[in-house]
Protein backbone atom coordinates (compact mmCIF):
# COMPACT_ATOMS: atom_id res chain seq x y z
CA UNK A 1 0.00 0.00 0.00
CA UNK A 2 1.13 3.53 -0.73
CA UNK A 3 0.37 6.77 1.03
CA UNK A 4 1.46 10.37 0.64
CA UNK A 5 1.54 13.10 3.25
CA UNK A 6 1.44 16.65 1.90
CA UNK A 7 3.87 19.09 3.50
CA UNK A 8 2.75 22.73 3.51
CA UNK A 9 4.96 25.49 4.83
CA UNK A 10 3.88 25.44 8.47
CA UNK A 11 2.73 21.80 8.63
CA UNK A 12 3.99 20.30 11.86
CA UNK A 13 2.41 16.85 11.96
CA UNK A 14 3.69 15.63 8.59
CA UNK A 15 6.35 13.39 10.09
CA UNK A 16 4.00 12.23 12.85
CA UNK A 17 1.57 11.10 10.15
CA UNK A 18 4.30 9.35 8.19
CA UNK A 19 5.50 7.51 11.28
CA UNK A 20 1.98 6.63 12.41
CA UNK A 21 1.03 5.22 9.01
CA UNK A 22 4.27 3.28 8.55
CA UNK A 23 4.17 1.73 12.02
CA UNK A 24 0.49 0.84 12.03
CA UNK A 25 -0.01 -0.32 8.45
CA UNK A 26 3.36 -1.06 6.93
CA UNK A 27 2.47 1.16 3.96
CA UNK A 28 5.23 3.14 2.30
CA UNK A 29 4.76 6.85 2.84
CA UNK A 30 6.08 9.66 0.65
CA UNK A 31 6.22 13.24 1.88
CA UNK A 32 5.08 15.55 -0.94
CA UNK A 33 5.91 19.26 -0.94
CA UNK A 34 2.86 21.49 -1.48
CA UNK A 35 4.50 23.11 -4.50
CA UNK A 36 4.36 19.86 -6.50
CA UNK A 37 1.60 19.80 -9.06
CA UNK A 38 1.63 16.02 -9.33
CA UNK A 39 1.31 13.25 -6.77
CA UNK A 40 3.08 9.88 -6.90
CA UNK A 41 1.17 7.28 -8.93
CA UNK A 42 -0.88 4.51 -7.34
CA UNK A 43 -1.66 6.14 -4.00
CA UNK A 44 -4.11 4.47 -1.61
CA UNK A 45 -4.25 7.40 0.79
CA UNK A 46 -3.38 11.09 0.75
CA UNK A 47 -3.05 12.83 4.11
CA UNK A 48 -3.22 16.56 4.71
CA UNK A 49 -1.56 16.83 8.12
CA UNK A 50 -2.00 19.11 11.09
CA UNK A 51 -0.10 22.32 11.65
CA UNK A 52 -0.44 25.93 10.67
CA UNK A 53 -0.07 25.96 6.89
CA UNK A 54 0.95 29.45 5.74
CA UNK A 55 0.76 30.58 9.37
CA UNK A 56 -3.05 30.44 9.18
CA UNK A 57 -2.85 33.69 7.17
CA UNK A 58 -6.25 35.11 6.21
CA UNK A 59 -8.09 32.02 7.54
CA UNK A 60 -6.79 28.64 8.64
CA UNK A 61 -6.35 26.57 5.49
CA UNK A 62 -7.27 29.37 3.06
CA UNK A 63 -3.86 29.80 1.44
CA UNK A 64 -3.01 26.09 1.54
CA UNK A 65 -6.22 25.30 -0.32
CA UNK A 66 -4.76 27.19 -3.30
CA UNK A 67 -1.40 25.40 -3.24
CA UNK A 68 -0.37 23.74 -6.53
CA UNK A 69 -0.65 20.27 -4.98
CA UNK A 70 -4.32 20.80 -4.14
CA UNK A 71 -5.25 20.55 -7.81
CA UNK A 72 -3.79 17.04 -7.85
CA UNK A 73 -5.44 16.22 -4.52
CA UNK A 74 -8.81 17.32 -5.90
CA UNK A 75 -8.33 15.19 -9.02
CA UNK A 76 -7.32 12.16 -6.92
CA UNK A 77 -10.36 12.66 -4.69
CA UNK A 78 -12.59 12.80 -7.77
CA UNK A 79 -11.07 9.46 -8.89
CA UNK A 80 -12.01 7.94 -5.53
CA UNK A 81 -8.60 7.96 -3.85
CA UNK A 82 -8.92 8.19 -0.06
CA UNK A 83 -8.01 11.64 1.26
CA UNK A 84 -7.79 12.39 4.98
CA UNK A 85 -7.41 15.89 6.37
CA UNK A 86 -6.42 15.94 10.00
CA UNK A 87 -6.89 19.11 12.06
CA UNK A 88 -5.35 21.83 9.85
CA UNK A 89 -5.83 19.37 7.00
CA UNK A 90 -9.58 19.36 7.73
CA UNK A 91 -9.54 23.16 7.54
CA UNK A 92 -7.73 22.96 4.19
CA UNK A 93 -10.33 20.50 2.82
CA UNK A 94 -13.25 22.76 3.76
CA UNK A 95 -11.48 25.80 2.30
CA UNK A 96 -10.80 23.82 -0.88
CA UNK A 97 -14.48 22.89 -1.13
CA UNK A 98 -13.76 19.16 -0.86
CA UNK A 99 -15.81 18.98 2.34
CA UNK A 100 -18.81 21.10 3.38
CA UNK A 101 -18.83 23.59 6.24
CA UNK A 102 -16.00 25.47 7.92
CA UNK A 103 -14.00 25.48 11.12
CA UNK A 104 -14.51 28.44 13.44
CA UNK A 105 -12.56 29.78 16.38
CA UNK A 106 -13.18 27.65 19.47
CA UNK A 107 -16.19 28.73 21.49
CA UNK A 108 -14.02 29.16 24.59
CA UNK A 109 -11.51 31.25 22.57
CA UNK A 110 -8.67 29.08 23.88
CA UNK A 111 -6.41 26.71 22.05
CA UNK A 112 -7.50 23.28 23.25
CA UNK A 113 -4.93 20.51 23.51
CA UNK A 114 -6.00 17.35 25.29
CA UNK A 115 -7.18 13.79 24.78
CA UNK A 116 -10.88 13.60 23.92
CA UNK A 117 -13.38 10.76 23.95
CA UNK A 118 -15.13 10.17 20.66
CA UNK A 119 -18.11 8.20 19.50
CA UNK A 120 -17.36 6.34 16.31
CA UNK A 121 -20.75 7.14 14.82
CA UNK A 122 -20.40 5.26 11.56
CA UNK A 123 -18.12 2.23 11.23
CA UNK A 124 -19.23 1.55 7.65
CA UNK A 125 -16.78 3.99 6.05
CA UNK A 126 -13.38 3.51 4.45
CA UNK A 127 -11.83 5.31 7.39
CA UNK A 128 -13.61 3.53 10.23
CA UNK A 129 -14.28 -0.05 9.09
CA UNK A 130 -11.55 -1.44 11.35
CA UNK A 131 -13.32 -0.07 14.46
CA UNK A 132 -15.93 -2.81 14.02
CA UNK A 133 -17.73 -3.22 17.32
CA UNK A 134 -15.54 -0.61 18.98
CA UNK A 135 -17.77 2.46 19.09
CA UNK A 136 -15.57 4.59 21.32
CA UNK A 137 -12.15 6.06 20.62
CA UNK A 138 -9.73 8.36 22.40
CA UNK A 139 -7.61 10.75 20.34
CA UNK A 140 -5.92 14.06 21.07
CA UNK A 141 -7.20 17.40 19.82
CA UNK A 142 -4.89 20.37 19.39
CA UNK A 143 -6.67 23.32 17.81
CA UNK A 144 -7.65 26.95 18.19
CA UNK A 145 -10.09 26.96 15.29
CA UNK A 146 -11.74 23.59 15.63
CA UNK A 147 -15.40 24.40 16.03
CA UNK A 148 -17.15 22.78 13.10
CA UNK A 149 -19.79 24.97 11.50
CA UNK A 150 -22.35 24.29 8.80
CA UNK A 151 -25.94 25.47 8.32
CA UNK A 152 -28.73 23.34 9.77
CA UNK A 153 -29.70 21.95 6.39
CA UNK A 154 -26.13 20.75 5.75
CA UNK A 155 -25.84 19.28 9.25
CA UNK A 156 -29.15 17.43 8.80
CA UNK A 157 -27.95 16.06 5.49
CA UNK A 158 -24.57 14.97 6.91
CA UNK A 159 -26.30 13.19 9.80
CA UNK A 160 -28.99 11.68 7.58
CA UNK A 161 -26.42 10.28 5.16
CA UNK A 162 -24.25 8.81 7.90
CA UNK A 163 -21.47 11.23 7.05
CA UNK A 164 -20.79 12.34 10.61
CA UNK A 165 -18.26 9.63 11.47
CA UNK A 166 -16.79 10.95 14.73
CA UNK A 167 -18.56 12.91 17.42
CA UNK A 168 -17.14 14.38 20.64
CA UNK A 169 -18.61 12.84 23.76
CA UNK A 170 -17.82 16.09 25.61
CA UNK A 171 -17.70 18.92 23.10
CA UNK A 172 -14.34 20.69 23.68
CA UNK A 173 -14.67 23.59 21.24
CA UNK A 174 -18.31 24.36 20.47
CA UNK A 175 -18.51 22.25 17.32
CA UNK A 176 -21.99 22.20 15.81
CA UNK A 177 -23.74 19.04 17.00
CA UNK A 178 -20.41 17.98 18.52
CA UNK A 179 -19.12 16.98 15.09
CA UNK A 180 -15.48 15.84 15.22
CA UNK A 181 -15.18 14.21 11.80
CA UNK A 182 -17.14 13.99 8.54
CA UNK A 183 -16.79 12.31 5.16
CA UNK A 184 -17.63 13.50 1.66
CA UNK A 185 -20.70 12.34 -0.21
CA UNK A 186 -18.70 9.60 -1.91
CA UNK A 187 -17.15 8.64 1.42
CA UNK A 188 -13.55 8.85 0.24
CA UNK A 189 -12.66 12.24 1.74
CA UNK A 190 -12.42 12.49 5.53
CA UNK A 191 -11.97 15.56 7.68
CA UNK A 192 -11.22 14.92 11.32
CA UNK A 193 -10.25 17.45 13.98
CA UNK A 194 -8.73 15.09 16.60
CA UNK A 195 -5.39 13.55 15.69
CA UNK A 196 -5.22 9.81 14.97
CA UNK A 197 -1.50 10.45 14.40
CA UNK A 198 -1.15 11.38 18.07
CA UNK A 199 -2.92 8.22 19.24
CA UNK A 200 -1.46 5.29 17.36
CA UNK A 201 0.24 3.29 20.11
CA UNK A 202 -0.46 2.80 23.79
CA UNK A 203 2.70 4.66 24.79
CA UNK A 204 0.98 7.80 23.48
CA UNK A 205 -1.98 7.26 25.78
CA UNK A 206 -4.19 5.69 23.14
CA UNK A 207 -3.80 3.44 20.14
CA UNK A 208 -7.31 4.10 18.82
CA UNK A 209 -6.05 6.26 15.96
CA UNK A 210 -4.23 3.29 14.45
CA UNK A 211 -7.58 1.79 13.44
CA UNK A 212 -8.30 4.79 11.24
CA UNK A 213 -5.15 4.29 9.16
CA UNK A 214 -5.67 0.52 9.20
CA UNK A 215 -9.23 0.93 7.94
CA UNK A 216 -7.86 2.53 4.75
CA UNK A 217 -4.59 0.71 4.33
CA UNK A 218 -5.06 -2.62 6.06
CA UNK A 219 -2.57 -4.14 8.47
CA UNK A 220 -5.06 -4.86 11.24
Amino acid sequence: MKAAVVVFPGSNCDRDCKTAIERTTGASVTLVWHGESELPAGLDLIVLPGGFAYGDYLRAGAMAALSPVMGAVGEAAARGVAVAGICNGFQVLTEAGLLPGALLRNAGLKYVCKPVELDVVNTQTRFTAAYGEQRRAVMTVGNGEGAYFADHETLDRLEGEGRVVFRYRYNPNGSARAVAGIVSQDGNVLGVMPHPDRAFETELGSADGALLFQSVLGGF
Binding site: P100, R105, A107
Partner: protein, 80 residues
Protein backbone atom coordinates in the same frame (compact mmCIF):
# COMPACT_ATOMS: atom_id res chain seq x y z
CA UNK B 1 -8.01 52.61 -8.15
CA UNK B 2 -8.12 51.49 -4.54
CA UNK B 3 -10.34 48.78 -3.11
CA UNK B 4 -11.31 48.35 0.50
CA UNK B 5 -12.91 45.11 1.61
CA UNK B 6 -14.45 44.53 5.02
CA UNK B 7 -15.08 40.95 6.06
CA UNK B 8 -17.20 39.89 9.03
CA UNK B 9 -18.64 36.63 10.26
CA UNK B 10 -22.25 36.35 9.10
CA UNK B 11 -24.86 37.56 11.62
CA UNK B 12 -25.93 34.01 12.49
CA UNK B 13 -22.38 32.82 13.15
CA UNK B 14 -21.14 33.18 16.72
CA UNK B 15 -18.28 35.69 16.83
CA UNK B 16 -16.46 34.58 19.98
CA UNK B 17 -13.79 37.26 19.50
CA UNK B 18 -16.45 39.96 19.36
CA UNK B 19 -18.07 38.47 22.45
CA UNK B 20 -14.78 38.54 24.38
CA UNK B 21 -14.08 42.15 23.34
CA UNK B 22 -17.61 43.10 24.37
CA UNK B 23 -17.13 41.55 27.80
CA UNK B 24 -13.82 43.40 28.18
CA UNK B 25 -15.50 46.70 27.28
CA UNK B 26 -18.15 46.02 29.91
CA UNK B 27 -15.36 45.33 32.38
CA UNK B 28 -13.89 48.75 31.62
CA UNK B 29 -17.20 50.38 32.46
CA UNK B 30 -18.78 50.77 29.02
CA UNK B 31 -21.88 48.85 29.99
CA UNK B 32 -23.74 50.03 26.88
CA UNK B 33 -21.36 48.42 24.38
CA UNK B 34 -23.35 45.76 22.52
CA UNK B 35 -23.24 43.62 19.39
CA UNK B 36 -19.46 43.89 19.08
CA UNK B 37 -18.19 42.19 15.93
CA UNK B 38 -14.53 41.76 15.07
CA UNK B 39 -13.76 41.71 11.38
CA UNK B 40 -10.97 42.13 8.90
CA UNK B 41 -10.11 45.00 6.54
CA UNK B 42 -8.16 44.34 3.34
CA UNK B 43 -7.08 47.15 1.01
CA UNK B 44 -5.39 46.85 -2.35
CA UNK B 45 -4.83 48.60 -5.68
CA UNK B 46 -6.78 47.56 -8.74
CA UNK B 47 -5.93 47.92 -12.41
CA UNK B 48 -9.59 48.11 -13.47
CA UNK B 49 -10.69 50.67 -16.09
CA UNK B 50 -13.48 52.07 -13.92
CA UNK B 51 -15.04 51.73 -10.48
CA UNK B 52 -17.79 49.41 -11.68
CA UNK B 53 -15.30 46.96 -13.20
CA UNK B 54 -13.14 47.26 -10.10
CA UNK B 55 -16.07 46.37 -7.91
CA UNK B 56 -16.89 43.28 -9.97
CA UNK B 57 -13.27 42.19 -9.70
CA UNK B 58 -13.07 42.80 -5.95
CA UNK B 59 -16.35 40.95 -5.37
CA UNK B 60 -14.96 37.93 -7.21
CA UNK B 61 -11.80 38.09 -5.09
CA UNK B 62 -13.91 38.05 -1.93
CA UNK B 63 -15.93 35.10 -3.11
CA UNK B 64 -12.84 33.16 -4.15
CA UNK B 65 -10.31 33.97 -1.42
CA UNK B 66 -10.68 37.08 0.74
CA UNK B 67 -13.77 35.73 2.52
CA UNK B 68 -15.22 32.31 3.14
CA UNK B 69 -18.83 32.52 1.89
CA UNK B 70 -19.82 29.64 4.20
CA UNK B 71 -19.26 31.72 7.33
CA UNK B 72 -18.45 35.28 6.27
CA UNK B 73 -20.09 38.22 4.53
CA UNK B 74 -18.31 41.25 3.09
CA UNK B 75 -18.64 44.77 1.75
CA UNK B 76 -16.58 46.25 -1.06
CA UNK B 77 -15.68 49.92 -1.53
CA UNK B 78 -13.84 51.06 -4.64
CA UNK B 79 -12.44 54.57 -4.93
CA UNK B 80 -10.59 56.27 -7.76
Amino acid sequence: MRAKVEVFLKPGVLDVQGKAVENALHGLGWAGAANVRVGRVITFDLAAANAADGRVEAEAMCDRLLANPVIESWTVEVTA
